[in-house]
């Protein structure tokens, strides 16, 4: 009878299982510098917003950002978290809105006709789109938000419970009840 030495015979599958995390992680680690700097972002929450004017949701050229523009738009109860500072605005009338969003999630109603749809934009990719009108507006699931694909969302666009991870926001605005705190 052969004495047991305590040493297990080499098993390829066991070894592969141990090395699997490294096999998965290595290409990601190597590719990370090529993905570029994710960039500094700030977060925006808006309870309710609407526009009587145009709302453009435009895929940005680098595919990591969606640009949202509107000549005139109203927001209720906005909170912006930027570098540990909260900016809270109760009622905002904004003009010349230009927003670069890395991620956006909102419930959207168009023209009071399309039922409430949950829209999720990840980079310029539409993770969850607008049924019925999505194809026409270029906001169909698994597509890229792109102004060339369709007309802007226009007239009577409402958004509720909006959450945005933004890179940049530009606008002219007036608001009631402003609070800035840490």
């Amino acid at each position: 009878m052969k004495a047991k030495t305590g040493r297990q015979p080499f098993s390829f599958f066991k070894g592969f299982r141990k090395a699997l995390p490294l096999v998965v992680a290595l290409p990601l680690l190597l590719a990370a510098p090529l993905l570029g700097n994710p960039g500094k972002t700030f977060k925006i929450w808006a309870f309710y917003s609407y526009t009587w004017s145009e709302l453009h949701i435009v895929g940005y050229e680098n595919e990591n950002v969606t640009v949202i523009t509107s000549p005139s738009i109203h927001f209720d109860n906005i909170r912006i978290l930027m570098d540990g500072t909260w900016i809270e605005l109760k009622s905002v009338d904004a003009e010349n809105l230009y927003l670069k969003a890395k991620y956006m999630e909102t419930d959207i109603i168009i023209l009071n006709l399309v039922p409430l749809s949950h829209l999720v934009l990840n980079g310029s990719h539409v993770d969850q789109g607008i049924p019925l009108l999505g194809g026409l507006l270029g906001l169909e699931t698994c597509h890229t938000a792109n102004s060339h694909m369709g007309p802007p969302l226009t007239w009577l666009v409402q958004m509720q419970n909006t959450y945005i991870v933004a890179e940049e926001l530009r606008l002219s605005m007036k608001s009631d009840n402003v609070r800035i705190h840490l």
């Binding site: 700030f42 570098d83 605005l89 608001s175 009840n177 609070r179 800035i180 705190h181």
Partner: protein, 163 residues
């Protein structure tokens, strides 16, 4: 006893007077003045640059810079504790103007706000900043931990003490 009361009153008034004067002249001479409540009926400012100081760099405060500002119904309230007695020194001016304003505060409240060409993002050499060409705010209340101005013009200034 009466004499002691008079002396105490004179002593208290002197201390408070020094604090109030140092506050006013400090602001006027661009020296930082700390820990007071600022109220204003309105502030009309130019070239806003607002940013947050990081915990290790600037004590985690909100920084607001304005190249110039016109303030109405300005009120600066500074609370002091003198021998167990809490005294509030109040400086009021119905119309004030300032240039080169830097305000470091914990919070900032306003009933209304207008901003022209406001931008939020990587501006003013910082990763995160709020900038605007012009800023108008109404019924402002802010807890200011430090403030300095390059020049200050206080019209019809009133200083009073409350205990």
């Amino acid at each position: 006893m009466e004499g002691f009361g008079k002396m105490a009153a004179i002593g208290l008034a002197s201390v408070v007077g020094v604090v109030v004067l140092s506050t006013v002249t400090g602001v006027g001479l661009a020296m930082p003045v700390s820990d007071f409540q600022l109220k204003a009926g309105s502030i009309d400012g130019r070239n806003l640059n607002m940013y947050a100081g990081s915990m290790d760099n600037y004590g985690n405060k909100i920084f607001q810079e304005l190249s110039s500002a016109t303030l109405s119904q300005l009120e600066i309230v500074k609370e002091m504790s003198l021998g167990g007695l809490t005294v509030r020194a109040i400086i009021q001016s119905p119309q004030a103007s300032a240039s080169g304003v830097l305000m470091k505060c914990d919070n900032f409240k306003a009933d209304a706000m207008r901003a022209g060409n406001q931008r939020i993002g990587p501006y003013g050499g910082r990763d995160f900043a709020v900038t605007a060409d012009n800023l108008y705010v109404e019924n402002v209340s802010a807890w200011v931990t430090e403030m300095s101005v390059a020049s200050l013009n206080l019209g019809n200034m009133v200083i009073k003490l409350e205990s």
